[in-house]
């Protein structure tokens, strides 16, 4: 495929067609924050932190860079006042749930987000879906999924699958930005299949 040239924060970047704006920016060493993006997973567009301003044929728009395909002559701005505001408010919204998540604390500092801006309701999960998608797309086990919708949405391990699959995997714990996946798993284990831990990993 032929390379095309776009401009990110004033810098000309040459990438193959089909690349996303996020990939192009990272290749050029321009950082864009993400929570739900993972190299091994299909892009999701859920956290919206990677939002940037794009200008194409004179029209400006705000898009998520993880899904937006590059085009010739596209002008991308990753740090406008509006982009920063979107990120700041999103971080503040998420900190109402997970005020002490290290990744959020780091982002809060960078974007001047106030962790106390919105009423706290600690659920610790930011619903990035990394665990759900990693389990489905990479491990193909579907041991953890989303339940409910809107603000009631949460992740939930499915005991019947988790009892069989999770013990020898637990790979989602490491990619979770808030450690909630681990907590949710142990809660499921304690409620649905206790005793396994005592018995040890050797007996199935």
């Amino acid at each position: 495929m032929t390379d095309l040239v776009l401009q990110i924060d004033g810098k000309d970047v040459s990438v193959p067609a089909g690349t996303t704006v996020l990939q192009a920016a990272r290749q050029a060493g321009i950082p864009i924050p993400t929570l739900c993006h993972h190299e091994q997973l299909e892009d999701y567009g859920g956290c919206r932190l990677c939002m940037v301003e794009v200008e194409s044929r004179g029209r400006k728009n705000h898009v998520v860079s993880c899904l937006y395909p590059v085009e010739k002559g596209l002008v991308v701005r990753t740090r406008t006042e509006t982009v920063d505001k979107i990120r700041r408010v999103i971080i503040e919204e998420l900190m109402a749930h997970a005020p002490d998540a290290p990744e959020l604390k780091r982002l809060a500092e960078e974007y001047g987000a106030d962790r106390n801006r919105f009423e706290k309701e600690s659920s610790f999960c930011v619903l990035c879906g990394l665990c759900v998608r990693y389990c489905a797309e990479v491990k193909q086990k579907h041991a953890v999924g989303f339940i409910e919708n809107g603000p009631k949405r949460e992740i939930s391990f499915i005991p019947e699958i988790a009892a069989k699959e999770c013990w020898d995997c637990q790979e989602c714990f490491a990619i979770c930005p808030t450690s909630y996946a681990q907590a949710a798993y142990f809660l499921t284990e304690a409620l649905a299949f206790p005793g396994r831990r005592k018995a040890g990993a050797t007996s199935a």
């Binding site: 859920g46 956290c47 979107i86 603000p151």
Partner: protein
Amino acid sequence: MPKLQSAAALEDYRAQVLSARDPARPSIAVCAGAACGGLDSAAVAAAFSTAIEKQAAAAKLDFRVTGCHGFCNKGPNVIVGPGDICYFEVKPEDAAEIVACTLKGEVIERLVYQHPVTGEKAVHMSEVPFYKHQMRILIGDIPKIDPMRITDYLAVGGYSALAKALSKMTPVEVLDEVKKANLRGRGGGGFPAGLKWETTRNAPEKTKYVIVNGHEGESAAFMDRAMLTGNPHKVLEGLIIGAYAIGAQQGYIYTRHDSPQMALHIQAALAQAADYGLLGKNILGSGFDFTVELHYDVGIFVSGESSALMRSIEGHAPEPRPKYIRTSVSGIWDKPSNLNNVETWANVPEIINRGADWFTSIGSEKSKGTKLVSLSGHVANSGVIEVPMGMPLRTIVFDIGGGVPGGKAPKAIHFGGAMGGSIPISLIDAPLDFDGMAKLGAPIGAGGLLVMDEDTDMVEVARYLLDFLVKESCGKCVPCREGMYQMLKILTNIKEGRGRKFDLERLADLTEVTSLGSLCALGKTSSDPLKSMLRYFKDEYEARIAAGAAAGGLAT
């Protein structure tokens, strides 16, 4: 029942249907629309059947149970022909008298419309204030049709537009006519349907789909249900014509799982159309093949969002996906998929039959044709209405709606449901127009119009609508899921006297970020009602916050 092999065969069959019908023969139509149904119009219909049998009147009059007549708060509605005599609030015990008087050609004075203030009576549909200012092109046939009988639709000229399109027009000619008519999407966006059709038609993939979005979920909107339940064949005819123009082989009618009457009527319409050769292989001998499937939602509002709807048809959870590539190019199973709303499709047969010039002669400069509106709220007459685009809202609210009951003054008009907006009554002379209303901050949306009187609490209006949307968010993206939830919490606090001085600033940030950052139209427009409140009714919000502080609340 014939399998119609050509346009001529359809016209022969229609002539046969009409020759068995006498327009001068008395008729009684009982409304079984959603509102009348709720007022037990089924008992009224049963009483009519009994009365007709007792009076041995079956041979002397036509009796039918129909879809929504429109005047919902005066139900159960009965319309008597010839002459369209309207009886309101009909009870089962009135049935025998109506049958007897109809046979004698007499009018029952006590059941006709009486103006609540002047006491003036109106007998015929053309005189009843609710009806007389309307232009009922799409819904006018509903009282004449038993939706379970295709012959009733044929009797009012049904499928003649399809016959014309297939036998006398090329697909491109059909497309050009719709483009020339400047038919704009009735589902909310107002995007020109012809351009959308053209995009799907020109997309390189051979397999193409057309879809009826019959997933009406907007709060205070009930006109699509009336249209699709009362005259399903009209929507289907529009869809088949569209499929011909676009080159689609498969259509879907996507609708709600919780409206059994509508589902029954659509199923019957699909089966009958197939039996008559109006669906399936070689439609009317034209060589055009097209089939339609009915698909139900899973009971969530966002199912009506076009990309979520298409995910749902594929068998996935109805989660929206970003539309950086339009669904008209890459929709269901990544094939070009043209989706239009029920009302948009219903306009198509009229445009083909009467021509684009006729269509563009109705309406305002940039919004052509008529619009179905669900009129409700603090208004004397509520129901489903159809008016020409460009009609001043004043005519809708006062002449059709009869103004605010109880001697109260109107305060605001809300358009577009939970993702619409409210405008103060001082703007009541604004015309019903896609662009004009959007500029005012109360986009027409799908067409739900709520009138609010002087006692309406504008904080509660925004809170109520957000409460609805919060529950309907799918929860995938942060600005929609969290942003709306925080807005709801702040509004609840303000309403309950716990507002804080910085709340308006927090709301401004939340509305901005939710609009810019959300993934789909639900999130993007979820804060529109609140934005309109902060534009026109900010004083009321400030006063509530201050009053909460004065009463010992938290405002600091």
